[in-house]
């Protein structure tokens, strides 16, 4: 392969592997330490000199995590907010993107620019007024409040617009001749053709939604209606010194996204490479 022509022969690549392994070790160590600590007793987690391998592999710390937080409720809130945000964002962004890509209407380019500018500004700029909005509509401490601002995405609109622009108009013309109306063309012909973009967008939006802290922290207050990251952060306030419980909890809450990432790494990387990482 031409690709390999300029690479060093395989047996001379070991210094590169050595450096990469060292760096990868530094990346992975905190995860290993987290897992080991989740199985330790509290005294073991605070021992000097350190206890590396826990004396037993019991699930005590996991039990304490489930006792101290309504994990089931928070899981439902986190998943609900994620589903609402992803589904809503895909729908709204693809509709808008199709409108921008395929139609001319008065003020189109100005409105598109407004989309990009508004949604790329730092989120803190809108936070107070968005909070007051949720308060005025009595939405504080509800699922819609957590998901609503994230339904709108410049990034998603932009990416999908690019995807629509890349589709030759012949497809729409053929569908139109077959008697499909505008919305049918969008829904049945065009949208399915943006599959890879929708997939990348789904993954990245899920990541932001699952991991987000600041906004859910601001709009939720009761213990059962928070998202998992907010609950976990609060737990630290109460159980600041019970590291096995904190490690067990942080490991469990991170796990779903890590598993999805490992299963769908190529789609993640494609999304990141095309866009960077910013909600």
């Amino acid at each position: 392969m031409a690709e390999q022509a300029r690479r060093a022969p395989r047996h001379r690549q070991w210094p590169a592997h050595l450096l990469l392994l060292l760096a990868a070790g530094a990346m992975v160590f905190p995860f290993v330490w987290q897992v080991l600590t989740a199985f330790k007793t509290v005294p073991e987690s605070r021992a000097v000199p350190p206890v590396i391998v826990p004396s037993g592999w019991g699930f005590d710390a996991f039990g304490r995590f489930f006792e101290s937080l309504p994990v089931g409720n928070l899981f439902v809130v986190s998943v609900g907010a994620l589903v609402l945000r992803v589904a809503g964002q895909l729908l709204l962004a693809s509709l808008a993107a199709y409108g921008f890509a395929r139609f001319t209407f008065p003020g189109r380019d100005a409105i598109f620019a407004l989309f990009l500018i508004m949604l790329m500004a730092p989120s803190q700029l809108f936070l107070i007024a968005q909070f007051n909005f949720m308060k005025d509509f009595a939405l504080l401490d509800t699922l819609p409040a957590i998901a609503l601002p994230g339904l709108f995405s410049a990034f998603g609109t932009f990416l999908l617009r690019q995807a629509f622009l890349a589709i030759p108009p012949e497809f729409e013309e053929a569908a139109r001749l077959d008697g499909a109306n505008s919305f049918q063309i969008f829904w049945k012909v065009m949208l399915p053709m943006t599959g890879p973009t929708l997939a990348a967008l789904t993954l990245l939006t899920s990541l932001y939604s699952w991991n987000d802290l600041l906004w859910p922290l601001v709009v939720t207050s009761s213990k059962e209606r928070m998202t998992l990251p907010v609950g976990l952060a609060n737990l630290q306030g109460q159980y600041g010194t019970d590291y096995p419980t904190l490690m067990a909890g942080s490991m469990l809450v991170s796990l779903p996204l890590i598993v999805i990432f490992i299963a769908l790494q190529r789609q993640f990387f494609a999304g990141i490479a095309s866009s960077g990482l910013k909600g």
Binding site: E3, Q4, R6, A8, Q13, H17, L19, L20, A23, A24, M27, V28, P30, Q34, S45, R46, P50, A93, L95, A96, G99, F100, F103, T104, F105, P106, R108, F115, M118, P122, Q124, L125, F126, L127, I128, A129, F131, N132, F133, F152, L165, A166, P168, S182, L207, L213, L214, L217, P229, L232, Q236, V253, S254, I258, F261, Q265, F268, A273, L277, K278
Partner: protein
């Protein structure tokens, strides 16, 4: 190419069948536009207005002109937060050369490339709250594994996240750790775009691997580096989660290590001083705009678009 040089194939095809302006397009855009108005444009106006008002805890507000901004200028904590945000951003940017080297190393081997990418990317998909907790534990001054390891080589490590003088640096290192993965993926995509012919030509001219990297690869990689730099600055200036978990809420380091967004959060939602918080947010926006504009101006001097 014909006389039309502006558009892609799509644009040219579309220009053959010009569409009449219609309101159907607006109907597609309308739902998103309504949300944009209600949740972004109106709130933006609200934030500006709030920043010019003195607000009470019960939503009452009176117009006070630029008072909040004057208060900011004389607020030592504001300047400290600004400095901490700048320090954090500067240190996270030091991670970019590391990411360039790691991306180049991954690109230079032909086995396990994907495994390395996955390992470096793990912190990116991990809950920031969880990342903060693990590192807070590792950094613990008394029984944290870092200081115990340093003790083995005779170094008496500080109390990393409880000491206000050190905490922001300790958090910044975690910032590098969490941003490497994204940067490596973007830079890796850039490296794959470097034409092989150029590298082969430079080899034939006798350039060694290091010379080749510096003289051929780096200039061609500069657009990716610029992209990574822009993303890193914007996200670092907005960092909140790590500070909140690692040093926030009553830690002894809180007063010394708070950043712009942490202070904004405290003012707006803990002390309910919305007007002051809004002024803080406007300053943050201005800062991000200035830094981004300066960057785009400077890029002409070093970014190479071949």
């Amino acid at each position: 190419m014909t006389t039309i040089t502006t558009g892609s194939g799509v644009a040219r095809r579309r220009s053959r069948t010009p569409r009449k302006p219609s309101l159907i397009g607006l109907a597609y855009v309308a739902p998103a536009l309504a949300g944009l108005l209600a949740l972004y444009i109106v709130p933006l106006a609200g934030t500006f207005q709030l920043s010019l008002s003195e607000t009470g805890p019960f939503g009452d507000s009176t117009f006070t002109g630029l008072d909040n901004y004057r208060r900011l200028a004389g607020d030592a904590d504001f300047w400290l937060a600004l400095r901490n945000s700048a320090t954090y951003t500067a240190i996270v940017l030091l991670g970019i050369p590391i990411a360039v080297v790691l991306a180049a190393l991954i690109h230079s081997v032909d086995r396990f490339n994907n495994l390395y990418r996955v390992l470096f990317f793990l912190p990116v998909v991990t809950l920031p709250v969880a990342v903060g907790m693990v590192w807070r534990y590792i950094y613990n001054g008394e029984f944290g594994i870092l200081n115990q390891a340093l003790g083995l080589v005779g170094i008496d490590g500080p109390n990393w996240v409880a000491d206000p003088a050190v905490a922001i640096y300790a958090v910044s290192v975690v910032g590098i750790w969490t941003s490497l993965g994204t940067n490596i993926i973007i830079l890796g995509a850039g490296l794959r775009g470097v034409p092989k012919e150029l590298l082969e030509a430079s080899s034939m001219d006798g350039a060694g691997p290091v010379r080749q990297f510096v003289s051929v690869t780096l200039p061609l990689l500069s657009p990716s580096i610029f992209f990574v730099l822009t993303l890193s600055i914007i996200s670092s200036l907005q960092m909140f989660d790590l500070i909140y978990v690692m040093i926030g809420r009553g830690s002894t380091a809180e007063s010394g290590a708070q950043t712009m967004v942490y202070r904004f959060f405290q003012q707006s939602f803990v002390e309910y001083d919305q007007g002051y918080g809004a002024a803080n947010a406007i300053v943050l926006l201005t800062l991000i705009m200035i830094v981004t504009a300066v960057q785009f101006r400077l890029q002409r001097k070093w970014v190479f678009y071949g």
